[in-house]
Each structure stands twice: as structure tokens, then as C-alpha cells.
Symmetry: C2
């Protein structure tokens, strides 16, 4: 009997489809499953010790979320975004998260601002390691979004951030210009929210997100191979 499958599920209560979903999301976000990779349902199923059906459903869900692309009768590949598509996603996130900051600015309290400052410090310390940086960066934005009373809006913002994560990760590994001004830029965001002026907060976050250099993000290290 094979025990590895048992080790892979510390959470026993979760369904096979949830297991497959989390597994695939994690592989994609982390970049271990590169864009363009052909994902064969049966292979994943065997690797996870489940049948092909729940994997299929997970793949379909990932497809509607944009992480994968299903081609009729020819399987699913990890979605590979081009420059324009990455730019579009950043643009959408900029618009949505900026609007969220408008609401955040009106209701964030002293404690929230303090948490944001702490997150900023963590972010500053994490600049040397890609994984830490991404985690800290997510946390920074999440701390602010915690004060946004619009659950679906927040969910959508996070979804977009996750969809672009592999590209950010690739970029950070080869070029650190994106990291260089991070601390100052995020400090600015906090300052703008601190004004409590919705217009300032919205305009500030929009600019912050759009300031990313998309051309750097769309650099591809690897060519997709069919596996």
C-alpha cells in the first residue's frame, strides 16, 4: 500500500475534488506548472490517489477562473498569458482595488493602519527572497482589504492577483527592479489612505498598481512543452 497519498492529505475532511483543486492551484501559482503545460487528468488523478472525475471537475473550475484553458477534446493546458493579457489583468485589479481603497480609507482605524505599517516592514525585510516577498506583498494588500466591506470585490481582487502571481514570480527571479522601490511605493499607499480622502486613496492605489512594468512581467523564461 502506498502511504504517500495519506501524507498528502493532512486535511482528511476535504473532498477529492477540493484536494485536486488545491493541488493544481498551488502548482500553478507557484510556477511549478508552467504556462502552456498540458495537464492530463489521469496523471493528476493517479498522483493524488483519486479517480479522474474529481480532477476533471477541478480542472473545469480552474478553467472558468482563468488558470487553465480547455480545448475541446484536446485537454487542458495551464493558461499562458501574453503581455497584453497580463496588462489587462493588472489594469482590472488596479481599478477594483483602487475602488476598494476608497471604502477602506473611510473606515480603517488606528489598529488597521498599524497593521499596515507592520506589514510594510515585513515586506521591506522580505525583499531578498522571492517567496517571502510574494507572501509579504500579498499580506500587505490583504491587511488593507480586510477593511473593505465588500466580500465579492475582495475575492475578485485576490483572484486576479493569484492569476498574475506566476508571472510576478518569474520576473522577480531574474530582475529585481520591481522590488527596488517597493517600500517607498507601499509607504505612499498607506500615507494616501491615512488622508481618509476617498479620491486620494483611490487615485493612489490605481497608480500604484498600474506603475508595474508589464513588459518585465511578460518575459518568458521557458518555452511551453507538451508533457
Amino acid at each position: 500500500m502506498d502511504l504517500t497519498s495519506e501524507r498528502q492529505r493532512p486535511e482528511q475532511g476535504q473532498s477529492a475534488q477540493a484536494l485536486a483543486y488545491r493541488y493544481l492551484v498551488d502548482e500553478i501559482r507557484s510556477g511549478r506548472l508552467a504556462g502552456g503545460t498540458h495537464v492530463v487528468a489521469d496523471k493528476v488523478a493517479q498522483a493524488l490517489g483519486v479517480s479522474r472525475m474529481p480532477v476533471r471537475e477541478a480542472i473545469r473550475q480552474l478553467a472558468t477562473e482563468g488558470f487553465m484553458t480547455i480545448r475541446s477534446n484536446r485537454g487542458a493546458v495551464v493558461t499562458s498569458l501574453g503581455r497584453d493579457e497580463i496588462a489587462e489583468l493588472y489594469e482590472m485589479r488596479a481599478v477594483l482595488e483602487a475602488f476598494a481603497m476608497r471604502l477602506v480609507a473611510e473606515r480603517i482605524d488606528r489598529q488597521g493602519l498599524e497593521e499596515a505599517e507592520i506589514a510594510l516592514q515585513r515586506l521591506d525585510r522580505a525583499r531578498s527572497d522571492v517567496d517571502w516577498f510574494i507572501t509579504a506583498h500579498d499580506q500587505f494588500h490583504d491587511v488593507l482589504l480586510d477593511y473593505c466591506p465588500r466580500p465579492r470585490l475582495v475575492e475578485e481582487i485576490r483572484r486576479i492577483r493569484h492569476a498574475t502571481e506566476p508571472y510576478l514570480r518569474m520576473t522577480l527571479r531574474v530582475s529585481s527592479t520591481a522590488i527596488r522601490n517597493t517600500t517607498r511605493e507601499h509607504a505612499e499607499v498607506i500615507a494616501q489612505i491615512r488622508t481618509r480622502d476617498p479620491e486620494v486613496a483611490e487615485a493612489g492605489m490605481r497608480e500604484h498598481i498600474l506603475r508595474i512594468d508589464v513588459d518585465e512581467l511578460s518575459v518568458r523564461e521557458q518555452t511551453p512543452r507538451g508533457t
Copy 2:
């Protein structure tokens, strides 16, 4: 070559899952499947002459798109939105579509403006019939969105519009105040886009969408029953 099979299914090429998806979306958007209705996969499968599997996948897709809600081991129900959730969706659409209008204002041409005017006249003539009105209203906004060079953004805007469609439909059936000012308001939108000023176009569309009276939309005629 055998043509009979083509006759039997006007839409020949579509998969069972696509069939189930379209069927369910249509039922939900039209309001024939009311919010809160328990959708049993097997029933739908038999009604469509397919097996339960493709229906399940369609349901899962609808769930990730927000049209349905899956409760573990207890089936799927048509998502029923409360006042706040409807308001949130309108808010998101307002923000996104307003941004889209910023781009539209910069690139729409004489022909586009003409099409918009025509759509506006259709909208005006359709004010007496709920179905026509919704169709014409969708068309009006779509005409403008055709000039937005951001496919995902447009897709997301449409998705949100569709998600709120049943509530708009219910409202229009009982109260016509939402219709009353329609023509003037949409004429204003055109005028604002005609200025070609991105700020004006964005602010105008934001206001237009947010002007809807959410309290009227969230009026429920029916109480959800488990079926």
C-alpha cells in the same frame, strides 16, 4: 453522410456539458429558475437527455461564476442575492464599466456613436415590455463595450450584468420607475462619451449604474422553497 442527426439537434457541435450550461444559465437569467431553488443534477440530466456528469460540471461552472451555490454533500441551489449583495454587484459593474467607458471615449468613432443612438431609440421603444427592455438595454451597453479593447474586462462586466438580470426582471414586472428615466439617462451617457473626455465618461457611467435603486431590486416576490 447522415443528416438526420443534424436535424434533431440544431446545435450539433455542442457538448453535453455546454448544453447543460446554456440551459441552466438561460433558466436562471430568465427567472424561470428562481433564487433558492434546489437544482437536482439527475433531474436536469434526464430533462436534457444526458447523464448526470456533464450537468454536474455545468453546475460547478455556474457556481464559480456565482449563479449557483454548492453546499457540500447537499446539492446546489440557485444563488439568491440579498440587498447588499445586489448592491455590491452593481457597484462592481459601475466601477468596471465606467473604466471601460474611459477607453471607449478615446476610440469610439462616428459610426459607433450612431449605433449607440439607434440602440437608445430601440431602448425607448421597448419600455413597455420587460423582455424587450432587457434585451435592448443589454444591447445598448454592448454597443459601447464593443469599442472597449479589453476582452476580459468586457466579459466580466457582462457576467455581472447577467448575474443581476433576474432581479432586474422581477423589479420591472412590478414597478416601472426604473424604466421611466431610462431614455434620458442613457442619452446622458452618450453625451458624456461624446465629449471624448475620459474623466467625464468614467464618472458619467459610474453614476449612471449606481443610480439604480437597489432597494427596489431586492424586493422578492417569492420565498425560496426546497424542491
